[in-house]
Amino acid sequence: MIAKHIQKIKPSGIREFFDLVLGMPDVISLGVGEPDFTTPWRIREKAITALEEGLTTYTSNKGLFLLRKAISDYILKKHSVFYNPNEEILITVGVSEALDLALRAIIEPKDKIIVISPHFVAYPALVEICGGEVLYLITKEEENFKINLNEFKKLLEKKPKAIILNNPANPTGMAYYRKELLEIWDILENKNILIISDEIYNELIYDEKPISFVSLNKNAKNKTVLLNGFSKAYAMTGFRVGYACAKKEIISAMNKIHSFSIMCAPIISQVAAIEAFTAEKELIEMKKEYKRRRDFIIRELNNLKLSVRKPEGAFYCFPSIKKYKLNSLDFAKKLLFEKKVAVVPGRAFGDEYDSYIRISYANSFENLNKAILRIKEFLQNLDKNV
C-alpha cells in the first residue's frame, strides 16, 4: 500500500532512544530544539485579541498582506534587500513547510540536491520524499564544520539542482560570514543551481552581525530562496509561522502547492507574528541569555576536555566523544540511564557523526549547571574504564 519512495526513507535511527527519553521522569534534557522561553507576552496578548475580535477565517494563500509587508520591511532594514510583499513573499506553516514547498517546486525524479552534513534531520528526508537524490557534502570538525570548497566543487560535477544552506547551522551552531559566503557564491555564480538558504537561526548570532546570503549581491538574491520564521528568535515554535522570499516565479510555484495542500497559515498565528517585530527588546534579552549560556557551556565542556567548536549562533553545540570508544547512541543511552541527562546522538545528523553528540543550551543555568556536573561524573567513570 505504501509508496516505495516513502518506504525507502529510513526511520530515524534514534527513534527508540527518543521513546526512552520521553518515558523517563526527572531527566535533564539537553536535547530540546526549541527555546525554553515562553513567547513574549505582547505577542501572546495579540493572539488573544485576534481571537476576541473574531479573526477566525482563512487568509489569502500567500498570507496576510500586513505580515508580508512587515517581513519585507524587516529584511530591507536588516539586510538592505527588498522583496516585493505582493509577489515575492509567502507565509508558510513554519520554515519546515517553506522548505518542503521549495523542494517540491523544483525537484523532478532523480534530481540531485546538496545537503551539508551534519544536517538538520528534515533536509535529506524531504528531498527523498520529493523523489530527489541527496548529495552529502561532509564537513569536518577540523574545518569548523564548514564547507570544504574543493569537495564542494567536486560535488558540483554531479550536476545538482540546488543546495540547502543552513546558516547558522543546526546541530553545530557554526555560522558563515560575508567572506565565506562570497567564496561559496564565487563557485556558484555561473552555475544553474538554486540556493535554498535556511536562516531560521539568523537572529541568534552572538559575536558578529548576522548576514544573509541574499545580501551578497543582486544575482545571489535572484538565485536564492530565503527561508526564515518566528519560531526560534521569538520563542514562537508552537505558532508555526515561517516564510519564504524569492523571485516571483519561484514563490508562485510554491504558492501553487501551498494553496492546494495547506491553504494558508493560521490567521491567529499570522497576526501574532506581525506583533513579533515589535518585541525587539524581548529578543535582545533572550539573545543575551543564550550567549551567556553558550559561553558557560563551552567553558565547562573545555574543562571536561571534550573537543568542541565554539558555536557562533543557534543554541546548540556539537562536542566530539571520539576518545570514549562508544558510538553516539550507546554514549547517549548510557548517559541517560546512569545520569538522567539526555543529549541527541550525533548519528541523527549524518552517518559520519557517530562520535559526536548535540547539546542544546536552550535551558536554564540551573539545569545546565546540574547537567554539566552529571556529565563530569559520567565521563570520570568512563575514563576509569578506558
Binding site: F18, V21, L22, V27, S29, G31, V32, G33, E34, D36, T38, F120, V121, A122, N170, R292, D295, F296, R299, E300, A342, V344, A348, F365, N369
Partner: protein, 160 residues
C-alpha cells in the same frame, strides 16, 4: 548594567561560585565587586519577595496613601518627605507629579492601626494638606514578579 547586578537582581541568593561560573569572572573579583557595590550604595539590600497571602496568621494590611503637602522654602518637599518616611509604618515613599505630591505605601497589622497612623501621625503634620487612603485588596505582581505560580512550560524532551 553590570552582568553581576543583572543576575543578582533576579536572584539575590545565587552563590559566588555560580556567579563566577556564569560570568567567567574569578570568585575573588566577584566578591570584591559586590563589596564595592554595597559600599557605594549601588546594592542597598538583599530582599525576598514573600507572598504573605500564603502564610497563615501573618495577614497584614497594606494601604496606598496619597498625600498633598505644602513645600517649604529652599528645601522643597525633601524635608517633609523625610519627616514622613522615617515612620517605620511607611514601607515606600515617592514624590510624584500630578494632583497629589507624595505616595506612601504603609503596612499595618489591621485597618485600625493604619487609621491610627493617618489620624494621629500623618494628617496632623503641619505641612500635610490632605490625604486619601486606599486599602490594598490583592497583590498580583510585585517588583516585576508575578505572584501566581504558572504551570511550567512543557517542551518535548527531545526535538530536532
Amino acid at each position: 548594567m553590570d552582568e553581576i547586578l543583572e543576575i543578582l537582581e533576579s536572584n539575590a541568593r545565587i552563590s559566588i561560585k555560580d556567579l563566577s561560573k556564569i560570568t567567567n569572572i574569578p570568585e575573588k573579583d566577584i566578591e570584591k565587586k559586590i563589596k564595592d557595590y554595597e559600599k557605594k550604595g549601588v546594592i542597598i539590600k538583599y530582599k525576598t519577595i514573600i507572598n504573605k497571602d500564603k502564610i497563615k496568621n501573618s495577614k497584614s494590611i497594606i494601604a496606598i496613601i496619597e498625600v498633598r503637602v505644602a513645600p517649604q522654602k529652599d528645601v522643597g518637599f525633601d524635608l517633609v518627605a523625610e519627616r514622613i518616611y522615617k515612620f517605620p509604618e511607611v514601607k515606600s515613599c515617592f514624590l510624584l507629579s500630578g494632583t497629589y505630591d507624595l505616595l506612601l505605601i504603609v503596612e499595618g497589622k489591621d485597618i485600625s492601626s493604619i487609621a491610627d497612623f493617618v489620624a494621629e501621625k500623618l494628617a496632623p503634620l503641619e505641612s500635610v494638606r490632605g490625604t486619601v487612603t486606599h486599602f490594598m485588596l490583592k497583590k498580583y505582581k510585585e517588583d516585576g514578579v508575578i505572584l501566581k505560580k504558572f504551570s511550567e512550560n512543557k517542551r518535548l524532551a527531545i526535538t530536532f
